[in-house]
């Protein structure tokens, strides 16, 4: 099985983001960047499929600035076979990215796409669902468990996934090919070892552009302003549970 894993380069999850003074966005110059944490989980799952013999070819793809090659290398160091970068200096939106990924999925003839459920910068939670729609494939979103099966007597292969939903867990069975978006508890991503980081430097990364793929990525949203959220007013420390309960009853009047 051929597996495509889209990944995104984002501000490292441990960095406190700062809004730019001119309110056009958040500061990204001289800020530590990393692979989006949900994408790491997706790469890990695909690599485990390869180790289990379910996947033969794991392709890591990213769309964005040239520096996204570093993010692709991280995926290759974790165990993916090769990379694709769709280079674009235009700020890409989920719909545009989904169109680019559709083109790559079709060009490569993949059987499965595994990706993060959302990126921690835009928090959109859209790209996987959009990609599935454009391909006409089923979608397993927010998954915490997956199991590929041969489809039994029906013959056509499928994947059974457990989804984390608001009320608890839901299990659905999807026909292959399919798009899966992963949640936090699917697995614990590995750290790449030094020998694997060295090996990853020799793995190929194909460079493409949106034009090569015939995709129009003109933005549909205009960002008018980005500001800090209103700050909370400073709180007080209390010395005892009795004082806390008194404050909640008589000052805040919430109990």
């Amino acid at each position: 099985m051929k597996v495509l894993v889209p990944v995104k380069r984002v501000i490292d999850a441990n960095v406190k983001v700062r809004v730019k003074a001119d309110q056009t966005g958040v500061e990204t110059t001289n800020v530590k960047m990393a692979m989006n944490p949900f994408c790491e989980i997706a790469v890990e799952e695909a690599v485990r499929m390869k180790e289990a013999g379910t996947a033969e070819d794991v392709i890591v793809v990213s769309a964005g600035a040239a520096q996204a090659q570093e993010t692709i290398r991280t995926g290759l160091a974790m165990g993916a076979d090769r990379g694709v970068l769709i280079q674009s200096d235009v700020a890409l939106e989920p719909l545009g990215i989904a169109k680019l990924l559709k083109a790559v999925a079709e060009k490569e003839g993949v059987d499965l796409v595994i990706m993060g459920k959302q990126a921690i910068d835009g928090d959109n939670n859209q790209t996987g669902q959009m990609l599935a729609a454009l391909l006409g494939w089923p979608q397993g979103t927010f998954i915490s468990k997956m199991e590929i099966h041969d489809g039994g007597a029906a013959g056509a292969g499928g994947v059974k996934v457990t989804r984390e939903v608001d009320g608890g867990l839901e299990v659905v069975d999807l026909k292959l090919p399919a798009v899966l978006t992963v949640d936090l508890r699917l697995n614990e991503p590995r750290y790449a070892s030094l020998p694997n980081i060295m090996k990853a430097k020799k793995k190929p990364i194909e460079m493409l552009s949106p034009e090569d793929l015939g995709v129009d990525v003109t933005p549909r949203l205009e960002t008018l302003q980005v500001v800090e959220p209103p700050p909370r007013k400073a709180g007080v420390m209390v010395d005892s549970v009795a004082m806390l309960v008194d404050k909640l009853r008589n000052e805040a009047k919430v109990i």
Binding site: A13, K16, V17, V26, P94, L95, A98, K117, Q118, I120, D123, N125, Q126, T127, Q129, M130, A132, A133, P138, Q139, T141, F142, R163, V165, D166, G167, G168, L169, E170, V171, V172, D173, K175, D183, R185, P219, R220, L221, E222, T223, L224, Q225, V226, V227, E228, P229, R232, G235, V236, M237, V238, S240, V241, A242, L244, V245, L248, A252, V254, I255
Partner: protein, 310 residues
Amino acid sequence: MSILIIAEHDNASLRPATLNTLTAAGELDGEVHILIAGADCAGAADAAAKLPGVAKVRVADAPEYGHELAENLAPLIAKLAADYTHVLAPATTFGKNVLPRAAALLDVQQVSDISAIKGADTFVRPIYAGNAMATVKSLDTIKLITVRATAFEAAAEDGGSAVTETVESTGDTGLASFVGQELTKSERPELTTAGIVISGGRGMQSGENFAMLERIADKLGAAVGASRAAVDAGFVPNDYQVGQTGKVVAPDLYIAIGISGAIQHLAGMKDSKVIVAINKDAEAPIFQVADYGLVADLFQAVPELEEALG
């Protein structure tokens, strides 16, 4: 302008987030319709017809809509959307799953998780786990939007009398099938709509210890939540998780017990009206957002709190 709300429901009744989505739709100044797509969903359709401010309920009642499968719902939404300027769904796991799929079928860039409406095409939404607020303008002809329920009041459930219209099913795509579900059963209020939430973190040390929080929750009529660390450690099920990737809550009172306050968690609760933190680590970041902080060992403080509440 005309607005279509994609209702979240369980066939018998409406889910609370649908009411918050209705309030958001009301701010858009246009005729509001609601889609009830389900199987044997007359109960939900009747409830929708009573909502104030709703002109029409469109009902698609067919077996293939029984389990909210996005593969079957998205083509229906995409087909109906042609009649509207705005399509709104709650930003719950239901709306997040279904609406982007419909948006792609319509070639529309969805606006996710809006927290305010500035105009017919301009919306405010949190980005970077709520550490920044972006104001965005949609250039698409039809706007597809998911609504952050905690940012809009719940609409009243009674007072309207909408007409009901039957909508043809777009059929079963056969791409996906529902196998089963494990829903957490609780007598307590739903996390996202509770007036008081008490949450535990890694400091709780075990799932058994959450019983201490449950007893307080029962005294206060509160819901019980958890941090990602507590869920990852297996103390409580995934649907307890409050945070950027879990549920977003904004109760009148949020009590954080043994929670350090990672950015991820703060994103899910920092819009609460009053925040209380009890943690033995005085340096824990949770104290920076707390209105009332108590540095204490939770295994002493929580039983004391239970007793003080009588």
